[in-house]
């Protein structure tokens, strides 16, 4: 026991907070969205810029991880080729649930300008997507806004088992 007297009812002194489990779980989840680095093409540069000091993703708790096992969020930034499609599916499957996907840029949304035989016409043909960011390339502000919308979406959902695993098929 501390010898000095602490007035727990003063500002911030109370070591107990009363809240619902949903709220605290979602608060934790939405503010530590660790993102899988998935820069596939030029959009990846904007994604990296968002992570760097000027736009500073860390203040959202979004920290880029190089392993799907450690990440909650996959930011698909760039052109997905047909050759690569199976790997994005494998990496998505390796992420632990709950997991979210942001499709960043025209290429990831719809195939973009690459209306060719070698480009997947939208990552949502392979994995379920939560948020589509338009632009070629979207500016870092767009990505920040997208992450904030995703945080809002996470907070609006129930935590726990109520969240059904997303499956494309």
């Amino acid at each position: 026991m501390a010898q000095h007297k602490v007035n727990y009812t003063q500002d911030g002194g109370l070591p107990v907070a009363l809240t619902s489990i949903d709220k605290i779980v979602n608060w934790g989840r939405s503010n530590s969205l660790w993102a899988l680095t998935y820069g596939l093409a030029c959009c990846g540069i904007e994604m990296m810029a968002s992570g760097a000091s000027r736009y500073d993703f860390d203040r959202y708790g979004t920290i880029f991880r190089a392993s799907p096992r450690q990440s909650d969020l996959m930011i698909v930034a760039g052109t997905l080729t047909k050759k690569h499609a199976e790997f994005i599916k494998r990496l998505y499957d390796q992420m632990t649930e709950p997991r979210w996907v942001i499709s960043m840029g025209s290429c990831a949304n719809t195939g973009g300008m690459f209306n060719t035989y070698a480009t997947v016409q939208g990552v949502d043909r392979i994995i379920p997507v939560d948020l589509y960011l338009p632009g070629c390339a979207p500016r870092p502000e767009t990505l920040q806004y997208g992450v904030m919308l995703l945080q809002k979406k996470i907070r609006a959902n129930k935590a726990g088992n109520a969240q059904k695993p997303k499956r494309l098929m």
Binding site: K23, N26, A85, G111, M113, Y117, A118, R125
Partner: protein, 268 residues
């Protein structure tokens, strides 16, 4: 103005036709006008048959027999100082006379000259690999095989280089559609989910500009979002665009515009 040619059914033809204006060829000059090239050509002619030779844009172009290619390049590398193979690939002339034109772009750093060695092969024939002479031919020949289906004999690893190993078709052939054939269109679906998933996932939507505002399955109109699958009537209420929920979330302060500061100095 150029003469009008009927353009009906031009899309229906699989092969490229001269639908558009074709620029005139760059003029060709005699090999004798350049003494370095003339000496090189004489050295090659002494041992191999040269069908045609000319100078175009300060580069010599020679046409040889397909089976001579290894010998010609070896001679050029070892005796004529053309020590680099900067590029090699094929040109599809299948529509014209069922042949491929193969070219090898050679560079001599000491002479500061470039020679293009060319020959024709029929569809289905293979070329001799020059990978033993130039390491750069390794990947170039694999790419030629990948894109045109022309195999290189004696190549150490004759496999596709750009497309996946299980790909069907050779994309740089002029008969190959730009948007891919049936195999290409379903490649990723077939491979990952199997053919039976085709129906659930649906065909590729190639019109990137297509937005259906009444489609609430795949689109959300910004500011007028409705739950997924709702039938859109057009009088949806406007949703406010806010980053934070009203009333706040546990431990998170709501952002208010009044409380924010605007940074005027970009160098801050």
């Amino acid at each position: 103005m150029r003469a009008y040619t009927p353009k009906d059914d031009v899309q229906a033809k699989a092969y490229y036709t001269d639908r558009y204006y074709v620029a005139p060829q760059v003029p060709k000059s005699e090999v004798e006008t350049d003494e370095v090239f003339a000496a090189d050509l004489a050295a090659i002619k002494a041992r191999f048959e040269v069908k045609e030779a000319y100078i175009q844009v300060e580069q010599m172009v020679i046409f040889i027999n397909p089976h001579d290619i290894y010998g010609v390049l070896e001679l050029m590398r070892d005796e004529l100082a053309y020590t680099q193979l900067s590029e090699m690939s094929a040109i599809d002339w299948l529509a014209k006379d069922n042949t491929f034109e193969i070219f090898y772009q050679m560079l001599s750093m000491t002479k500061r000259k470039r020679i293009r060695v060319k020959f024709f092969i029929n569809n289905g024939e293979a070329v001799d690999s020059v990978e033993k002479l130039f390491r750069s031919a390794d990947w170039s020949e694999r790419e030629m095989f990948d894109m045109f289906g022309i195999e290189a004999n004696n190549h150490p690893f004759m496999k596709r280089i750009l497309m996946p190993y299980d790909w069907q078709g050779h994309p740089l052939l002029k008969s190959y559609p730009l948007e891919g054939d049936e195999f290409a269109a379903w490649y990723e679906v077939d491979k990952i989910y199997g053919k039976e998933a085709r129906e659930a996932i649906g065909p590729e939507i190639r019109d990137t500009a297509r937005v259906d505002r009444y489609d609430s399955e795949r689109f959300a109109r910004l500011g007028f979002e409705v739950p997924k699958g709702t039938k859109i009537t057009g009088d949806e209420p406007r949703n406010s665009q806010e980053y934070q929920e009203e009333g706040g979330v546990f431990l998170i302060k709501k952002y208010t515009k009044e409380a924010s500061t605007i940074v005027d100095d970009p160098q801050r």
